[in-house]
Symmetry: C2
Subunit: 168 residues, 2 copies
DNA sequence: ATAAACTTTCAATATTTTTTGAAAGTTCAG
DNA sequence: CTGAACTTTCAAAAAATATTGAAAGTTTAT
């Protein structure tokens, strides 16, 4: 398989994959393009390669930067801005975990904590089921939260190395 | 806070949460409703409580069943079908992990394996970067795959209990 | 100060996804 | 067998989301 073809496929699949995880197609594709590019690219490069509009590229690059996955790069002698993506997949993963935790998990846990305090008969099966479900989710979420915190702090090696040992 | 109000909030937030993770609002809400309900509910109950159409409820219930998160229940003496959701959050999580792994991670890993074989100069920086990125993602994915497999096989207790010890 | 080069914004448009509801299909009691 | 009760399907409509592109804004070289 030729590089060009493989790259196309990768970009297109990464885009499709992203949409299953609440990430818009173009953002995922821009990310894929930058991750597989050895050199920084300009907005125009990206527009051309992905065949999308200037505004679209601009917006999605902004978002990727806010996720900490892409950086602006200045190239001496060039007027334009260029962009690179973090290429270490472990760093990419921990960055995404950090952000999603902050943006989604933490607020949800905060809400669940509030919802556990229900007025009314603790013996009413409906009240009981609600409180049990919510507190179950919250406990699970807290545990996941801690685990993710540790992953983010931990070193890549225990994950990419012999993770298996842990569970013996 | 009253039960009714809390339940509304939970359902609505669970729906919003779901959309950030590629799950449609109604499916997440049906799931939330069933998880917090002590009794099985019929299609009509769900339609009424969430104010959505019959077809919509039907489709999303089907999906939830295919995800293994909801079961049909027969109630003696009733003609209608009723539905319940698995309420053990650990089982819910492992079920979701199992399905997403099968539906998304496994196919992606299969694709990445193919994309690593590029014709062309291994010294070309573009080829090199592409192969490195793809193989990095694949290694990471394989490791994640194994870790998730273990989680699914493992017992709830090491997670919901003192998970922390593992990392000392 | 000017203008070319470049970036950002955002209302309009297009696309994708979800929802509806009525018709067709199924099941079952009598 | 018949029809009432219930479920499923799916084309059309609505809603949500993403994209465009041109105008406005900014920066920089001269």
């Amino acid at each position: 398989m030729k590089l060009t073809e493989a790259k196309q496929q990768f970009i297109s699949s990464w885009g499709a994959f992203g949409t299953h995880w609440g990430i818009n197609r173009t953002m995922a594709q821009v990310h894929a393009l930058l991750m597989t590019s050895s050199q920084p690219l300009s907005q125009d490069d990206i527009m051309e390669q992905l065949e999308v509009s200037r505004g679209n590229v601009n917006m999605n690059i902004r978002d990727l930067i806010s996720w900490g996955l892409v950086d602006r790069v200045l190239i001496p002698g060039e007027r334009k801005e260029f962009f690179t993506a973090e290429k270490d997949i472990w760093k990419v993963a921990t960055q995404i975990i950090k952000e999603r935790k902050k943006r989604e998990l933490d607020p949800m846990l905060k809400l669940l904590a509030q919802l556990e305090h229900i007025d009314g008969d603790k013996k009413d099966p409906e009240v009981k089921q609600f409180v049990e479900t919510v507190s179950g989710i919250r406990k699970f979420g807290k545990q996941a939260d801690q685990m993710l915190d540790m992953m983010v702090k931990a070193d890549e090696s225990w994950f990419l190395g012999g993770l298996l040992k842990i569970f013996k």
